[in-house]
Symmetry: C2
Subunit: 336 residues, 2 copies
């Protein structure tokens, strides 16, 4: 079987090739069926490749690279992207995906930029009315909950929410091996009479669907996201985006406060030094490494966004996700 090739935007994200090159190598070490082509500044990628640790030397032969310019200018808005269709590393990797040279693409660029260029180059599945962005969040049960949409759409209608429910469930079933995904609709309460009209309509449609592919669990409230009794939580992109970014902001603040607490007074400082390994383990939970990678569902091919602030380990997570989605032919089977 020819290896499954992933197109990597090597320049996107806060750390560029410093994160993407090692991250890609780390992922390939765990996915022997995959290979990668890195798109970006030739000399920067080459430089990072030459510095790969010896433990990753065996994956080097599965990594190619192609000169493809830089990441997007920081002020590049989605509207400007659609107008100007800028060249560069993201553009080049999406074109490779479009032309069948790769089966999936990973980028650390901004969500809006990736979505705009991916829709243009890769296109949408005809059966899907709207694309959606999904990411996994950690839960108390240690089984992740996939939330969607996270901002591909605002003003989603009831039928879009229903599509998101089935797309999310298909992803979880195929890629994460959950045989009967539990799917919930985010709402302001669990009463059937509560909430936005579109959410109530989507609830009625999901109840009526009688699909044997999902276990529809009804409404889920915001705090329910982290409890782990639903595998897929469906909402409009505005709600999901604010809730997810809010969670990231809160986690960051709490991480800073925890560290500050261990700097306040001599006793706390001494204990803080002793507690450092334990705290480090905990702070790992707060950073975007775990479950890094947002899936763009509804496109004709697999596109995964890595968090802009991800380092090599986090980027590796996003690449593994892309490999796993592409290996399952997720886009083709999304509406099954």
């Amino acid at each position: 079987m020819p290896p499954l090739r992933i197109a990597i935007d090597a320049m996107g994200g806060d750390y560029g090739p410093r994160a993407t090159v090692t991250g890609t190598a780390l992922a390939l070490a765990e996915r022997p069926n995959a290979s990668a082509t890195l798109y970006g500044r030739h000399h920067l990628i080459d430089d990072e490749l030459s510095r790969l640790p010896a433990t990753l030397a065996h994956v080097r032969e599965r990594i190619d690279f192609v000169e493809a310019g830089d990441c997007l200018p920081v002020d590049m808005t989605p509207s400007r992207i659609l107008r100007d269709v800028p060249s560069g590393s993201l553009h080049a990797s999406l074109v490779a995906l479009r032309d069948g040279e790769a089966k999936a693409c990973v980028s650390g660029e901004h969500t809006g930029a990736i979505m705009a260029l991916a829709r243009r180059h890769v296109g949408m599945l005809s059966a899907v009315s709207r694309p959606a962005i999904s990411a996994a969040i950690p839960t108390v049960s240690h089984r992740p909950c996939y939330m969607l949409d996270l901002g591909a759409n605002v003003d989603a209608r009831a039928e879009h929410l229903v599509d998101f429910a089935f797309m999310g469930a298909a992803m979880v079933r195929l890629v994460d091996n959950v045989s009967l995904p539990r799917v919930g609709l985010l709402n302001v309460g669990t009463e059937s009479s509560k909430g936005e009209r579109r959410v109530r309509e989507a609830d009625a449609m999901l109840r009526a669907s009688g699909s044997s592919h999902i276990e529809y669990v009804g409404y889920v409230e915001g705090d329910g996201l982290f409890i782990g009794n639903t595998d897929v939580a469906v909402c409009d992109g505005m709600v999901g985006n604010v809730a997810l970014k809010g969670s990231e902001g809160l986690a960051r603040m709490l991480g800073e406060r925890l560290q500050a607490e261990f700097q306040t007074g001599w006793y706390a400082r001494v204990v803080g030094r002793l507690a450092a390994p334990v705290l480090r383990r905990f702070l790992q939970e707060l950073n975007p490494v775990r479950y890094n990678g947002a899936s763009f569902l509804g496109l004709r091919a697999t596109v995964v966004k890595s968090h802009g602030s991800a380092r090599a380990e986090g980027f590796a997570y996003a690449v593994r996700r892309a490999v796993d989605e592409a290996a399952m032919n997720l886009p083709d089977r999304l509406m099954s």
Copy 2:
């Protein structure tokens, strides 16, 4: 000046009189201009009053109580409440507010129940199109950010969002002494072309308003909530509700994980014992005591909801908030 009387629903919330009686006394100790009437089960309230610590004996004379039945049945939905108008402690305290026997009301009942009964008994300000619920969230800057709406409305239109902006700003200006509140609109990005139509319309209306009472800062993203560069963050009730409850769920999960991390292995357990006072300080940040109290804006009189899981200290925070809002005549000045 006659003392400012607060009607307390003594039975609402997870702990009933065990939290509300001491909580009320704690608040009165810090607000010498206020007195309170507790509504609920006579013997339970009397019992708790007799157990008040000696340090609170001096406020005892400012506390009355009135037999008023129990809290609402747990299965009492807002729709049933509107149909049946159940009696009990919440009903009695809102009737006292309506009849001018008190200037504010505090309850730990469910938001939907309080809102439904308060709209019925207390009524809405005629100048306000829709009521809104607001609560303060902690920020990195240690200056709170007030978010609204948190679920009084779903499907808010642009003009409602603008009303929320001015109501939130008036509250912060009058009660929290922020002379020129910075007001932002929650959105999926900071670009002017992005986001829901109603949010973009509200943005245009706020920019055009030229009000000298607020400093409109434009769009705020979810993670911006915790940064502290806005005093009031405005959104639809669906977005605010999911984001706030999501934050609560995340904080709870992280608190549990942090404690679990210090239980894993003998070294962590030993260090955990040494770190206990520092961790306790940190975990305080995660519980709903701090900034407890959601304000119902747009009603004819001050109504504050205490978090259901609040204990005495948390309840005291909500009572202080009610005293401060009533002392400023916030309802009358809300649309100024």
